[in-house]
């Protein structure tokens, strides 16, 4: 009897360890693979508008009524300046950390302006509860990323197919470039 209890508990321990190991470590590995793929097929620190083929290659479970642009970033060498040109349709910008966390989102109504600048910079030494941005310096708002690598994704609503090119063209007016010091 005691032997059965021992082995049952031991079996449960192996199960629990496996469970925790997968839940805690698999997301990091999976998201690293996602970003490796994004960095491999899109230029770093540069905004590109995604066509259908690129959308399918870069994003998982994309929205068919949304046009996308992406800027994979690496700010280890310095901040990134993102010039945003906001179209006259639903639009949202999301900043993702390397863990896949959406650390900052701004939509067209919240922005209040048609043209904005964002500076994305490192945030390694700031406590977690203070990491949520943003600060403003004139017309530039500052977002701090907890990881040096990640991605900025622009989304814009496409009410129907004939609007797609116009909306993609509007997304193409935004850019991201390393800050020149």
């Amino acid at each position: 009897m005691g032997r059965w209890v021992f082995w049952s508990v031991a079996l449960l321990m192996v199960g629990v360890t496996t469970h925790l190991g997968v839940v805690l470590f698999a997301p990091t590995l999976n998201m690293a693979r996602v970003f490796d793929r994004i960095f491999a097929i899109t230029p770093v620190n540069s905004m590109i508008v995604l066509d259908d083929e690129m959308t399918a290659a870069v994003l998982r479970e994309p929205d068919p009524d949304t046009a996308y642009a992406i800027c994979p970033f690496d700010i280890s060498a310095g901040p990134l300046i993102v010039a945003l040109d906001i179209p006259d349709t639903y639009w949202a910008m999301s900043v993702y950390s390397y863990r896949g966390d959406n650390i900052y989102t701004l939509n067209d109504r919240q922005s209040g302006e048609r043209r904005l600048k964002m500076r994305l910079e490192q945030d390694q030494f700031i406590p977690l509860d203070e990491r949520i941005p943003s600060l403003r310096e004139g017309n530039t708002f500052i977002v701090r990323s907890p990881t040096n690598r990640g991605a900025i994704i622009l989304r814009a609503f496409v009410p129907n197919e004939p609007h797609m090119e116009r909306v993609r063209s509007a997304l193409g007016r935004s850019s991201c470039t390393p800050q020149i010091s």
Partner: protein
């Protein structure tokens, strides 16, 4: 030899228990990490920096870079109202009342989270293009073969899932997502 066999069996059994429990918890989710509303399920902390490990594992399992609920709410259905898995060999009717958001859409995905190829090249209906009744309500037919009205093809691959996204939704969708009025999802034939 017998001891080695027992040891291998023991480890394999432990791994199986671990992986099976992960699959259940991460694929299906559980309360309070998910909120259920009829056949619709919502992972409350999707894409959030303070997401729990299970939510994180769920979306990382298919590599999704999602939106937090402050920007968009994403309800997912893999079963009909009676709890039966959605099957492309059946016909389903989605009936809804106006949804309060900047815009919304309903999209069909394969179990692998990809679009389902179809001749109509249609994967979704959004709030701007959908044909509504005079009172603002709408009906969408989910079926493998062409249907009149708002038809969303479900292919021939048997299983599928649908995602209802509300962008910039009314606060009530964030506050009590389990109690808001969402479209019904009924199987009409099979």
């Amino acid at each position: 030899m017998r001891r080695l066999f027992d040891a291998v069996l023991f480890v394999l059994a432990g791994l199986a228990i671990g992986y099976y429990s992960v699959d259940i918890a991460v694929t299906r989710g559980f309360s309070p990490l998910i909120v259920e509303n009829g056949p619709w399920r919502l992972w409350v902390k999707e894409a959030s920096a303070d997401a729990d490990p299970y939510t994180r594992a769920h979306f990382a399992s298919f590599g999704k870079l999602g939106l937090t609920r402050f920007e968009a709410i994403e309800f997912r259905a893999e079963t009909d109202a009676a709890g039966r898995p959605l099957d492309s060999r059946c016909v389903y009717i989605v009936n809804g009342t106006p949804l309060t958001a900047r815009w919304w859409n309903l999209t069909v995905y394969s179990p692998q989270h990809t679009f389902i190829d179809n001749r109509a090249n249609r994967h979704s209906y959004n709030s701007d293009e959908i044909i509504r009744r005079a009172d603002g309500t709408f009906e969408i037919v989910l079926a493998g073969t062409a249907q009149p009205g708002n038809w969303l093809p479900t292919g021939t691959g048997n299983k599928f899932q649908i995602v209802l996204r509300l962008f910039d939704p009314a606060p009530v969708f964030r506050e009590v997502p389990g109690q808001v009025s969402l479209p019904t999802l009924e199987r009409t034939s099979c």
